[in-house]
């Protein structure tokens, strides 16, 4: 009878005479031959085509690898691209899942029942375009073409933008302004006469001190910034994080300031006070470049760390110490402007305080602070002039938001709901790649606006909540299956990147450039689309940029020289800033002219009523907005969000880890879906936190349907920034609902 030992011996002989039992490791290592390759693995250098990623706005250049059968296997970052330096983030790496998601939109759909019911019939592309063009022509005649708006987030939106301008409307907006980074752009424009831009011009790589105000780099996976923060950690830079939550970034910080929510301006003003009154500011820089220092000094006179302590809960000594850390690192210091900054309605003023702090520390235009980026221009091709629109969205807000240089997406939504005193409400929406039900606050209002439309078109790759409200759904192929415009974005050196299809589109899906052109033809706008194919257009443009489509297919990205050697300010030269005074405005003449405080003030914000907690939300590194929640690869990494609850609060409410709850907000709105509790010390007792983008209710996305909850369900109270129309969304308070979760 064979013993177990015998069995092992017999088996071992089969592997080449290895005596496994009782052998020493040293012996084994010598006798076992290396296995040549892994039979399950792919070839290392397969066919590859260039692209830039579309899973988020960072747009990292990459190579799409395909196997012998032409199937996409993996996506690898482009080594020469400064957005990613050869390393994609998890979303970019998992971009394959967007292509392979079998729940994608597959063919054009036309609504057959009223809005609110998702009943569609399959249509041909021609039928879909006929339908849209018919409605658009009717709107143009009855109301004027200005009454059609485009909401867009993503590369292909540019083609629809061109089509819409040719049609006669310049109401082209993205929620990325008034629902996201708008306040920082207005604040930095008012202060420095220039924008923060995207990718942000922060010189994190060479900074000695990085200050994050609620910005959770590392959880927001803005690739280049995450990489540079890591480099800065390696070089021993000081990180200071201000956040009521112990974020990943907070855990990497020398100082974590667990601030009471909604009090950031008080802390910023106290820092300004310390830097001025201890004379830690960059005197030469402030004297040479700034306007309004004396007024600012007087303004912050009483805003001491002791004053701020009473408001923020941050120890005055820590305020002093951290101010000193910044000053010691000056000018290689970044008080980071953040990205999603529409919080409490005084956001432009908070971002002004951040800008002022940077100005005092002399970091704008300095190594390790903020650099002057450069990008190349893509040549415009000839087409007839766009008709001049008679009206636009601003007419709905007379005299307001003059400093907003981009369209306010929420403003278009507001101006779609008819009111007697306004001449025209929007009648048509084209929604490209943005799930407005999740991106705009106050879902009831968004739905009310949609119900007032004559035409609602959604262009997307996935059946999102917003596509369910459309009259016509145009299914776009994913970025891995299409050409798009040449990527140009500002950076230390100008680069361009090409996106080309790695494979034919799956199903009956089409690229945006083709849709816009075909729709344009139906609208009688063929003259605006002079090129037969996108290849022809790209090649024409690239040839004028000193390259060609063929060359770019091989290169993927191309670097250009800067026009001048001016990455940083030249200390010996005068410099005129693009502000009213030509200086960095500590005292903003532009904001004063609009009737607002020229220097930021702290205002007290409402606090949660008893039994309620401030609803905070943020990002997870493996997901983008609400757009990736059904991506099979990314869902595999995170398939639902959790509600972070402090243990003290959990005890009070008898909440246990992994228990599901619903949330009810101050206005009585209850989340549509329930969310799993995560009891953690990493959140303050006065707030709860969830990652944005879950709680989908689109049954066609089975992997994400009813997984987790949506903060957007609960953001019914909006604090509008009077300066630029941003929608402050962090003034909502929630309590727990533990019963009748199925209801």
């Amino acid at each position: 009878m064979a013993t177990r030992r015998d069995f092992i011996k017999v088996s071992a002989i089969g592997v080449g005479g290895l005596a496994l039992a009782g052998s020493s490791y040293g012996l084994l290592k010598k006798v076992i031959p290396a296995v040549k390759g892994n039979e399950k693995a792919q070839k290392v250098i397969p066919t590859r085509t260039p692209t830039y990623c579309e899973i988020c706005f960072w747009k990292c250049a990459a190579w799409v690898h395909t196997n012998d059968e032409g199937k996409i296997t993996k996506i690898i970052g482009h080594d020469s691209d400064p957005h990613c330096n050869g390393r994609l983030c998890p979303r970019g790496t998992g971009g394959v899942g967007m292509y392979y998601d079998d729940e994608r939109l597959k063919t054009p759909l036309i609504r057959t029942e009223e809005r609110g019911l998702q009943v569609f019939r399959e249509a041909t592309w021609d039928e879909a375009f006929e339908y849209i063009a018919g409605k658009m022509k009717k709107i143009a005649v009855e109301h004027g073409p200005e009454c059609v708006a485009l909401f867009t987030h993503g590369s292909g939106g540019a083609y629809f933008g061109h089509m819409l301008k040719a049609y006669g409307s310049d109401n082209i907006g993205a929620p990325s302004f008034a629902q996201c980074r708008g306040p920082r752009e207005v604040a930095f424009q008012s202060t420095f006469g220039d924008l923060v831009m995207s990718p942000e011009r922060t010189d994190i790589r060479d900074t000695r001190c990085l200050v994050l105000i609620g910005s959770h780099i590392g959880e927001n996976m803005h690739n280049g910034q995450v990489q540079e923060m890591s480099d800065a950690i390696d070089k021993g830079a000081t990180i200071i994080t201000v956040d009521p939550r112990f974020s990943t970034a907070a855990s990497k910080s020398k100082y974590w300031l667990p601030i009471k929510p909604a009090t950031d301006i008080a802390l910023l003003l106290a820092w300004i006070h310390e830097i001025i009154y201890n004379e830690w500011y960059d005197k030469k820089y402030v004297e040479k470049h700034t306007y309004g220092f004396d007024q600012l000094k007087e303004h912050v006179k009483d805003m001491t760390p002791q004053w701020a302590y009473g408001i923020t809960g941050i120890d005055p000594n820590v305020i002093y110490e951290t101010a000193r850390e910044m000053a010691n690192a000056s000018p290689a210091v970044i008080v980071h402007p953040g990205r999603h900054v529409t919080w409490y309605g005084d956001d432009t003023q908070r971002l002004r305080a951040i800008a002022i702090l940077n100005a005092l520390l002399g970091s704008w235009g300095r190594r390790g602070g903020f650099y002057f980026p450069e990008k190349v221009d893509v040549p415009k091709f000839n087409h007839p002039p766009y008709p001049k629109p008679k009206r636009n969205w601003r007419d709905a807000f007379p005299g307001m938001y003059n400093l907003a240089e981009e369209v306010i997406a929420s403003g278009i939504c507001d101006a779609t709901i008819p009111v007697p005193e306004r001449e025209c409400a929007f009648k048509g929406w084209i929604v490209y790649g943005t799930n407005l039900i999740f991106t705009l606050p106050d879902q009831q209002k968004t739905i009310k606006a949609i119900q007032n439309l004559d035409l609602m078109v959604a262009v997307d790759t996935m059946p999102m909540e917003i596509t369910g409200w459309a009259d016509v759904i145009l299914p776009e192929c994913t970025y891995l299956e299409r050409y798009d415009e040449i990527r140009v974005s500002p950076h230390r050196e100008p680069y361009i990147a090409l996106r080309m299809p790695a494979t034919e589109p799956l199903y009956n899906t089409k690229p945006a450039w083709w849709m816009a052109k075909e729709l344009g033809k139906k609208l009688g706008l063929a003259d605006f689309f002079p090129f037969e194919t996108i290849e022809e257009q790209l090649d024409w443009q690239l040839k004028q940029m000193g390259t060609s489509l063929d060359e770019m297919k091989k290169l993927g990205v191309k670097k250009y020289e800067r026009a001048a050697d001016d990455l940083y300010l030249d200390e010996n030269e005068p410099f005129e800033f693009n502000t009213n005074t030509g200086k960095i405005e500590l005292f903003s003449t532009a904001i004063l002219a609009e009737g607002f405080d020229p220097m930021p003030k702290y205002t007290h914000h409402e606090e949660p009523p008893e039994g309620f907690y401030r609803l905070n939300y943020g990002r997870a590194p493996m997901h983008t907005f609400s757009r990736t929640a059904n991506n099979p690869n990314l869902t595999d990494l995170m398939d639902e969000n959790t509600l972070w609850v402090n243990p003290k609060v959990a005890k009070l409410w008898d909440l246990k880890n992994d228990q599901y709850v619903k949330l009810k907000n101050q206005d009585g709105f209850v989340s549509h879906t329930s969310i799993k509790v995560r009891v953690t010390e990493r959140i303050r007792w006065d707030s709860v936190y969830m990652v944005h983008g879950f709680g989908h209710r689109q049954p066609q996305m089975k992997r994400s349907y009813f997984r987790g909850a949506s903060d957007a369900d609960l953001i019914t109270r909006v604090h509008v920034d009077p300066i630029m129309g941003g929608t402050g969304m962090r003034g909502n308070f929630v309590t727990f609902v533990t019963e009748n979760l199925e209801a």
Partner: protein, 177 residues
């Protein structure tokens, strides 16, 4: 030659890029993973510490999975990499039970699967997919027998720990702390 990996917990942000890069590189089916991320929080608000670790097979020098494998499917390859030869594996699961790190899983094709340190890439002079993709560059890989390798140098310079050293498996996965 002795392959090892060092992971800097001070830089890792726990994004799981290593997980998805491994999946697409090695055709790991959705729902399975060869590497994963662990977050450990210590302390009470606001005195807190967070350690984030990207974990995988420790490629132990004294690997219980190799010792207990009845067919020799689990074995050491060049450089001490612990591998499973899929067509020799009978899927008995002894190795899964023996691993103190829970690094192995039953592949739906019927064999046991785990991290290979991307052996197929090493043979082509590349680094493991997780190391190559990591946006924070928190992973170091190389030959510990070579004092000039990236991994040797970082381990000499920094404080480190291994996981469950008391199991006596002599892991070759180091966490910089």
């Amino acid at each position: 030659m002795r392959y090892a990996m060092a992971i800097d917990t001070k830089k890792c942000v726990g994004c799981s890029d290593c997980v998805v890069a491994c999946q697409t590189e090695n055709n790991v089916p959705i729902g399975y993973c060869r590497d994963w991320v662990v977050e450990v929080t210590d302390g009470t608000y606001p005195q807190l510490e967070l350690e984030i670790r990207s974990e995988r097979c420790n490629h132990c020098s004294n690997a219980p999975c190799v010792r207990c494998c009845p067919t020799g499917a689990s074995h050491y390859a060049e450089g001490g990499i612990v591998l499973v030869t899929a067509n020799k594996c009978i899927g008995c699961g002894a190795c899964i039970a023996s691993c103190p790190y829970d690094a192995r899983f039953p592949h739906p094709d019927g064999h046991v699967d785990k991290c290979t340190y991307c052996n197929h890439r090493l043979l082509e002079g590349l680094k493991p997919a997780c190391v190559s993709v990591c946006p924070t560059k928190c992973m170091y890989f190389g030959d510990l027998d070579d004092p000039n390798s990236e991994v040797s140098r970082i381990i000499k310079k920094r404080k480190w720990k291994t996981l469950i050293p008391e199991a006596g498996t002599s892991p070759e996965l180091y966490f910089l702390i």
